[in-house]
Structures are given as C-alpha cells and as structure tokens.
Symmetry: C2
Subunit: 397 residues, 2 copies
C-alpha cells in the first residue's frame, strides 16, 4: 500500500483549506500538471484525485467542466485536507517549477478604478474634465495581447519602440517610462456561444477564479501610439499573471457591495448580488512597500465587466482572462501604477532604505516589483493570493 502524508499548515498561512488555489506545476523531471496549494505544499491532483483531467499543462480542461465540478473538486480537496494525501501527490512548493496556469483565450483589460481613471485624466489631460463622458456609463475596456501573458517570475525585457518627443517627430529606443499596473484578473471557465450574453447574475456560473496581474506599460510608447485606436505596443510586450488561481468560492467572505454608482447603470449592468471584493493589494518595489491599493474601492464590479463584454453577443472561451485595470485608492500610497505614484514622473518615489537611499520615477533595469494581496476568509482568517513578480532586464539591440 502506498504511503500517505498529512500536510501541516503553518500558523498564519494564507494557504489553509479555506483557500486551495490552483496552479500548473512541473515536478523535478516531470511533465506539467494541475496542482492545488495547501500550506507550503502543492498537491498533484491527477494523483490525489485519480483523475486524468488534471494531468494536463493547463487548468483549461478542468475549468471547462463548469461550476458543479469546480465545487465538487473543491469539496473533495477540503475533505482530504483534514486527513492524509498519497505521499506521491505531495511536493514542496519550493521544489517545483510553476508555469502559466491557464491557456489564455482572449485577454481584455478594463479601466474600472475611478481613482485611477481620474488620476490618469489629470496627468494626461490637465486642462479638461478628468473622467471622459462615457466613464460612468460603462466599464471602459479593450483587448490586449493574449500571447504575451506570462507567468509570475518571468523576466521582463525593456521594450523598444517609437517614443513621443517634444518635437512632434518620434525617436526610437528603449522605453524610458516603464511602468506597472497592479490589477486583479478574472478567468473564465465555462464558455458561452456567439450570440449569448452573460447577465450579472450569471457571473459565478462562468468565472472560475481570480489571479493577480501586472500589466506592464511603456508610457512613452503608449502616449505616442494610442490615438485613435488605443494602447498597442505600449502594453503588448508582457503581462504577468500570478501562478496561482484562487477559486471564486474562496473569496466568499471577501464579497462586499460596490461603492455607490452615480448615475445608476443601465439595466443590463445592474448587479443583483454584491460582487465587490475586500481585497488588499501590496506593491513592493525593490523590497520597499510603495503602495497598498484597496480593491474595495473599484467602481465597476467584475460581474458588470463580464455582462458588458458580452452584451453585444461576443462569445467567451475557457481560459479567457479579463483584468480590472489598475487598482488605485484615493490616497497617494494607494495608487496602483508608477505613473500615478510619481505623478507623471514629477514626484520621485522612495524605494531605498535608511542606509541606501534611492529614488525612482519609473522602472530601471534590474528593478523588481512584487504584487501580493490578501482577503478575509472564514473564522476571522485571511487568505493570501498568489504573488505576481517580475524583474526588468535591459533592452535588446
């Protein structure tokens, strides 16, 4: 009989049985497969649950099954977490290689924080109303590049491109205003055919889970290229996704109502259930915490984003990813991008220590950014969302 082991949960762990986020991991010398995290271990689900659906290099086959199966798997894991797992199913997280958890279909990025949109408006268009006329009527969004969504830890090469200059003629070279955007991403599990809409009340039938996103942005490329069709190369070089996808059910205790929406949205955008989340993010830049953006302040809910995205009959696919856009709160130390933290590059941010003072406006080569987040869980505990980490390497010739 094969040996069995009990997984101990360290005191204060954000990865207890109330969380159980999913990943794709490769054990040393093995093929990538689906795992779930418990404490400091990753549980190989194909082994633990004896199901080949999990012996795959993405979560997509599992996610495509829909909410009844998601719930069943989660309940089986929670039951097993109190007892023992087959020893062959348990690996230390530190001993495995984490991969992109999802084969991304389409990637959509929204712009759902009123504080971020207001800040961006003030910085880019100082002489006019910061919010454009459409902003309070619909969650503004656009499609990003799905093929350059990379897993946390992937190095980000500084992109080159055409940079806006004061002369009106662009120059070419490495971005000099390389930025981050701290966001929450939502992963679609159960797809919908062309012509269908996903009402706000159907959100949990289709969205499998949540991951952290860093939507790296080259502001000088973006400023030059983005009229009239929106961001393109200023974003498409890399978008980092956390290796762990937190199931929507693990965020039940974090759900809160949205702040007030004024004017009242059109009927198709009205939330029947509250889909705000009390999630606290934290941005570390070279080890210094420079911001703690509160997701609770977001103006548009992800249920509204998904309802909007499909109201024209656009289909969805398993693996589609949509992100919230930069999460910023009203305070300076709650801003989710360096553009806002340095106010367009005019107010340097302190990223040094007492011994080694250091100031920055945008990212320099060698800089590392780590975004983490936590949320309330049952029994007064908290869960820790999987981090999204990335370091900048120099531009290539």
């Amino acid at each position: 009989m094969s040996s069995r082991v009990r997984i101990e949960i360290p005191e204060g762990s954000g990865f207890g049985p109330q969380h159980l986020p999913y990943c794709v991991f490769a054990p040393a010398g093995g093929e990538p497969r689906v795992g779930a995290r418990l404490g400091d271990c990753v549980v190989d689900l194909a082994v633990a649950l004896d199901d080949p659906m999990f012996a795959q290099p993405s979560l997509n086959a599992f996610m495509a099954q829909g909410p009844a199966i998601w719930r069943e798997v989660r309940e089986r894991l929670q039951a097993a977490a109190d007892g023992e797992f087959p020893a062959a199913a348990v690996h230390a997280v530190s001993a495995v290689r984490l991969q992109l958890p999802v084969q991304v279909g389409d990637y959509v990025d929204f712009y759902a924080s009123i504080d971020h949109a207001t800040n961006a408006g003030r910085i880019f268009r100082p002489d006019s109303e910061p919010l454009l006329p459409n902003w309070r009527h619909l969650p503004v969004g656009y499609h990003g590049r799905a093929g350059t969504v990379v897993v946390s830890g992937t190095e980000v090469v500084r992109p080159c491109g055409q940079r806006r200059t004061d002369s009106g003629t662009p120059d070419f070279g490495p971005s000099q205003r390389l930025d981050i955007e701290a966001e929450l991403g939502f992963v679609i599990g159960a797809s919908t055919p062309l012509g269908d809409r996903i009402g706000t009340e159907e959100f949990a039938d289709h969205v499998f889970g949540v991951a952290l996103v860093n939507d790296w942005s080259a502001r000088d490329l973006q400023a030059w290229e983005a009229q009239p069709l929106g961001p393109f190369l200023g974003k498409s070089f890399a978008t980092s996704l956390s290796a762990w996808v937190t199931p929507l059910d693990a965020l039940r205790e974090a759900r809160i109502p949205l702040p007030e929406q004024q004017p009242r949205p059109l009927p198709y955008l009205r939330d029947r259930d509250p889909w705000g989340f009390d999630i606290e993010l934290r941005i570390e830049w070279n080890g210094q915490v420079v911001s703690t953006p509160p997701y609770s302040r977001m103006y548009w809910s992800p249920a509204q984003m998904l309802a909007h995205m499909t109201v024209n009959g656009a289909s969805t696919r398993t693996g589609d990813l949509f992100a919230s856009g930069t999460i910023s709160g009203p305070e300076r130390e709650q801003r989710g991008s360096l553009l806002e933290l340095s106010w367009g590059g005019t107010e340097p941010v302190d990223v040094g220590t007492a011994e080694h003072p250091d100031k920055r406006t945008f990212l320099e080569d060698g800089d590392e950014v780590v975004i983490t987040a936590s949320a309330p869980a049952a029994h007064g505990g908290r869960i820790t969302l999987g981090e999204v980490r990335g370091a900048i390497t120099p531009a290539r010739d």
Copy 2:
C-alpha cells in the same frame, strides 16, 4: 489499386495550379481536415499526400512547420495537379462544409490605408487635420477579439449595446449604424519567442498566407465607447474570415512597390523588398457592386505591420492573424466601408436595381455583403481569393 482522377480546371478559373489556396473542410459525414482547392474541387491533403499532419481541424500544425515545408507541399501539389489524384481525395467544393481554416491566436487590426484614415478623420473630426500626428510614422493598430473570428458564411447577429446620443446620456439597443470593413488578413505560420523581432526582410519566413476579412463594425457603439482605449464592443461581436487562405507564394506576381512614404520611416520599418500587392477587391451589397477597393494604394505594407508589431519583443504564435484595416482608394467607388461610402450616413448608396430601387446608409437586417478579390498570376492569368460573405440577422432580445 484505388482509382485516380484528373481535376479539370474550368476556363478562366481563379483556382488553377498557380493558386492552390488551403482550407479546412468536412466531407459529408466526415471529420474536418485540411484541403487545397483546384478548380471546383477540394483535395483532401491527408489522403493525397498521405500525411496525418493534414488530418486536423485547422491549418495550424501545417503552418507551424515553416517555409521550407510550405514550399515543398506546394510543389508536390503543383506536380500532382498536372496528373491525377486518388479519387478518395477529391471532393466537389459544393459538397463539403468549409470551416474556419485557422485556430486564431491573437488578432490585430491595423489602419494602414491613407485614404481610409483620411476619410475617417474628415468624418469624425471635421474641424481638425484628418491624419493624426503619429499616422505617417507607424502603422497604427490595436488588438481585436480572436474568439469571435468566424468563417465566411456565418450569420452576423446585429449587436446591441450603448449607443451615443446627442443628449450626452447613452441609450441601449440594437446598433443602428452597422458597417463593414473590407480588409486583407495575414496569417502567421512560423512563430517567434518573446523578445524576438521580425524584421521586414523576414516577412516571408513567418507569414503563411493571406485571407479576406470583413471586420464588421457598429459605429454608434464604437463612437461612444472608444475613448480613451480604442474600439471594443463596436468590433468584438464578429469578424469574418474567408474560408480559403492563399499561400504567400501564389501572390508572387502581384507584388508591387508601395506608394511613396513621406517622411521616410524609421530604419526598423524600411522594406528591403516590395511587399505591396496589386490586389483588386470588390464589395457586393445585396448583389450590387458598390465598391472596388485597390489594395495597391495601401500606405503601410504587411511586412512593416509585422515588424512594428514585434519591435517591442512581443512574441507571435502560429495562427496569429493581422489585418490591414479598411482598404479604401481615393475615389468614392473605391471606399472599403459604408461609413465612407455613405459619408457618415449622409449620402445614401444605391443598392437596388432598375426594377427595385433601394438606397442604404448602413446595413439593414437581411442584407448580405460579399467581398471578393483577385490578383495577377503567372502567364497573364488571375487568381481569385476566397470570398468573405455574411448576412445580417435581427438583434436578439
């Protein structure tokens, strides 16, 4: 021994052995597989070439092989076209069901026609310079929704959404300004990793072929939503792709220099070889030819588009699709969108006959649009690109 057949090419066919476009087709009662067109027949490549790479529901596995294999397969087919094929490999085009030929990775849409961009600028911003400052410096583009790229013949359901009104408050309902955009699409075969660039001189090493695109557009949705992040729901409900992909090699005789580019592009955008194409498009609206856009007038070449799209190190995947944007010429009857043909809805277009006069600005339910194209081929002949066809069905409640 199995029987063999000779495929006769009808006089004046645009599908002789100098063309040989690829498709994915399902024979009656059979599984989808890769075919090539010769005359009015589709040749089942898995059978004809005895290669399981073609027994797949997309061209992707074949396209991923790269240009040496593309050339070899084409040469084998051209050699066989002079003789006989196994009878089991040959189907009448009329007897098979054509499917989406490509599993699309990312879909990018450019804006590369100077006549189209100028017309759109004049219509949308009548009081300012029609071309924005960046337009002559880079091929403006954006990401569209890959999951709603559909094969020619798919019905297009009129999309609903928020429509701009004169009051400043949007209303909601079916689009009242439903439009087409006649475009050429380029399909990437050989992928590139993150960090690599595809120089203009490497175009033919990566681009497998060309297809026609109709980028359906809801102008009233687009006008309201598109600031500041570009088009979203006004485009994402459907983009139609021809069922046939013309290999790049079949367009050798159609290659021409671009019109002059002024100012001279930055070095990374300079074409060493001419990648303009002398391709004539034709737009039929309810059976009436309303426009004949000349691809020869495009300002930016597809090699420049691809070099631009990857200059920031963005990776490419087999199946990525990028389209030219609306193709318009300088004359009224060369405009590639109804927005331009009806000059923003102010000049109705005649789509009727002498017996049944009929005028239109934008698309009505039941309308059908067919875009076709042809190009010069060897020996003074012409090849016919696969059509892209679509009819409008009423909005759903």
